[in-house]
Symmetry: C3
Subunit: 333 residues, 3 copies
């Protein structure tokens, strides 16, 4: 495997194989599988779970990691082309990224959405530019529009919950004080559709996901036999729902213009998931979230602390599926 950038690059059977391998490595550890192998971890945006789940996954297989973030270079990294570097930045990504990659057998890169240009972010321009600079295998650790490791972990979590094809998943927008990237909702929607589920995107007016995101998911659903719809009506959408996946994202129409978005947001504080949302949901309807989650803002404490929540298991699956991914990418066997 030369890269892991998008679940759409893999067949459903290849995805299932990775999840089977994750379970196998958890039950039968292989602490020498990657001995002498190194994973470079480049974070152009901050991370907690992704960082430590990759460090743990690699170490469990006997391999090593090192971490780079821009502030480690003197006064940060320059990324603009053709610039005369007489300001503060002492190093350009055109040197830094190939060097960092050359010290590892594979590289994980996080470059979250800049939130300035919708077109650039939907096209994943920054991530593509970074990967064009390297020759080693690479892993997308969250880009402007994708988060395939999260989706692979979520697929496993849905398996663990015994949820399969034609089960109903609601991807629900929730309130958040800041405009957040489309990476997680876009990846989640596509993953659930590819898995064959009946997915509804539940969001208030003004928060429809971009057409290109919806269309990619619909294509996945058409192959897998699932379905993709959208709605702004909580009550009807939550009926018979078996799992609600909470996320927050920016308004596409105000992308890069926070002031304009802030003007329409104050009315949406009721988009905080709480027990009444589940009145007509399926028995044992579960609550998923990629974390970090803001308590009392995106979801009520009693949901997170109660039996519906699987967020801790979901996060643990990050480490397990990444072990499988690294094993597949780097082991000699």
């Amino acid at each position: 495997m030369k890269f892991f950038n998008d679940l759409a690059d893999f067949s459903v059977s290849e995805i299932k194989e990775l999840i089977t391998l994750a379970t196998k490595l958890n039950n039968h550890p292989e602490p020498r599988a990657l001995e002498g192998k190194i994973l470079s971890l480049l974070f152009l945006s901050p991370s907690l779970r992704t960082l430590i789940s990759f460090q743990s996954a690699m170490a469990r297989l006997g391999g090593g990691t090192f971490v780079v973030s821009p502030e480690m270079s003197i006064h940060g990294l320059e990324s603009r082309s053709g610039i005369v570097m007489d300001g503060t930045a002492a190093e350009h990504i055109r040197e830094a990224v190939p060097v960092i990659a050359s010290y590892g057998d594979a590289i994980g890169i996080r470059a979250a959405a800049k939130g300035e240009s919708l077109d650039d972010d939907l096209a994943d321009r920054e991530f593509s530019e970074l990967t064009s600079l390297i020759e080693t295998p690479y892993i997308n650790m969250e880009s402007a529009i994708n988060h395939p490791c999260q989706s692979l972990a979520d697929w496993k979590t849905l398996d663990d919950l015994k949820l399969s094809v034609h089960n109903k998943l609601v991807l629900s927008w929730t309130w958040h004080p800041n405009p957040l990237p489309f990476a997680v909702p876009a990846a989640t929607l596509h993953m659930a559709a590819l898995r064959g589920m009946d997915v509804t995107v539940l969001r208030p007016e003004g928060y429809a996901l971009p057409d290109v995101v919806m269309e990619k998911a619909r294509q996945a659903a058409s192959i897998s036999g699932g379905s993709v719809t959208e709605s702004d009506d909580t009550k009807s959408t939550m009926k018979d729902c078996q799992v609600i996946y909470a996320s927050s994202w920016a308004s596409a129409q105000y992308y890069g213009n926070r002031r304009a978005e802030d003007e329409i947001k104050p009315d949406l504080r009721q988009w905080c998931i709480d027990e009444p949302w589940f009145n007509q949901a399926a028995d044992n309807c579960r609550f998923m979230h990629c974390l970090p989650v803001r308590r009392g803002v995106a979801v009520a404490d009693r949901i997170l602390d109660g039996p519906r929540s699987v967020v801790i298991a979901e996060a643990k699956n990050r480490m397990l599926v990444q072990m499988a991914l690294l094993h597949k990418m780097l082991s000699n066997s």
Copy 2:
């Protein structure tokens, strides 16, 4: 071993067994004993020695570590209950801590005293709250009122010095510009008492250790055959002293009220340990300190640079006893 939180939870023979194992692992390395095992290191307060001695200890046994500090999460971690998280913190410890723990086979946690409420700190409320969130084995890497890894290392250092029961140890307060936690003096006093030594707490008026701390040590002494006394007279206390353990701590009566404490402190600059203190001490009376130590403030340079000081050996023992601890906690053998 499911947790290592307090020497008081262990019998003297269990402690001696750990120290024997530390010496054994130093002489006969076992670089694969913990292969594939991971120790999570969560630092809610800063650390130098504890961090690197645990990283080294784990790596020497073939295991891996990863490190988390609050600033790694976006805008820090929230810890208050029932709060609506619409401020800067994007993540709550109720999610972060279980996730961090789930990526390791054991977790080390440092949560030093907040220095606000004496009752809360004496009851180790924050540390207890954190460990209630996890299911993996855990290690106290310094809490509000305990520092068992330091005490285990100090026990070994006292063994290395051939000091045994009924030798006289003075735990002396020293000057420090800031009010420091009770963790080290409380743990040291209890350790020396449990070891069966004759311990005197030497401190100026106003700096008596809290009753609960003194009482716990007295109980340990009553079992081991040691003794615990206190004094504010340097001359008589230092007579025949075989080891002086320097530390600094806040005034319990002004706890959380630095301004009030500052008013009584300016007269105490003479509490800087120097050669005249040792006039009537035993030959070769040794100087111990957990580090970091302020030169010329807590102790004179000539003591630290001279033959009395064992502070470097003491710090090295941190790594050695922690190797034993991790081996006991995590090895399959």
Copy 3:
């Protein structure tokens, strides 16, 4: 090997042996050679390449590392002698450095030039003071006046380019907004001279390297059969040049007085290496630089992006020669 501080401490055959070992370990990995061994990494000045190339090198051989930087200690490390530490720094290097060293089997130390006293920096006073505090083997990861790991890597890069004795290397000063240390140019000049090359230092008036630096290189050349000259004329110097090594350094005459140096610098912006420099150079004349490099300031983009540049290979060689160095220093075989 007890220390690696200066190529001058080794014979040419010992250096060649290290480079042969680097190539061997790259072709035939030894992922267990250093199992259970620990390298302490102490950075008193910032680093990107050096940090991650050592982390990777050690992990590829099965060993572990931990990293210390001054900001990890509470309010930094004090280094002055005989001081009363009642300010912000809570720890002195006289305790910190021996403790840090004691947790590893070897220690790498970076303490770049302070740029205040030319005499102190040329005598490498800070680095010598640090290494006088430790007993473990140590590696110079860049000191005020040396960078032997860079030079060892560069030697290998010159080998990889099939450049050998009597080939012409130009060490050229380039424009930089800040006065930089002599470590890289001094180490490079000495390395090329020791390798037996014909080296010319090309620099504008006012930027001659200090006499002691030139003299050390001339002595190396006299043994190896190489030569060392200097010039301020680009055109004649670049004639038949086979490799240009770009670097920037402070003006020795204004050392520690940036304002005075700034007054003479504005005229020197043409010292940015570009294609016309190579008009009379040898075919395929190569461009080397230790990185980080400022694009459009020290060198034109088309040089860095074109076939002359070997900077990425040069940086990768850092990791490879450091693997050899660590293997030589720490393996039991």
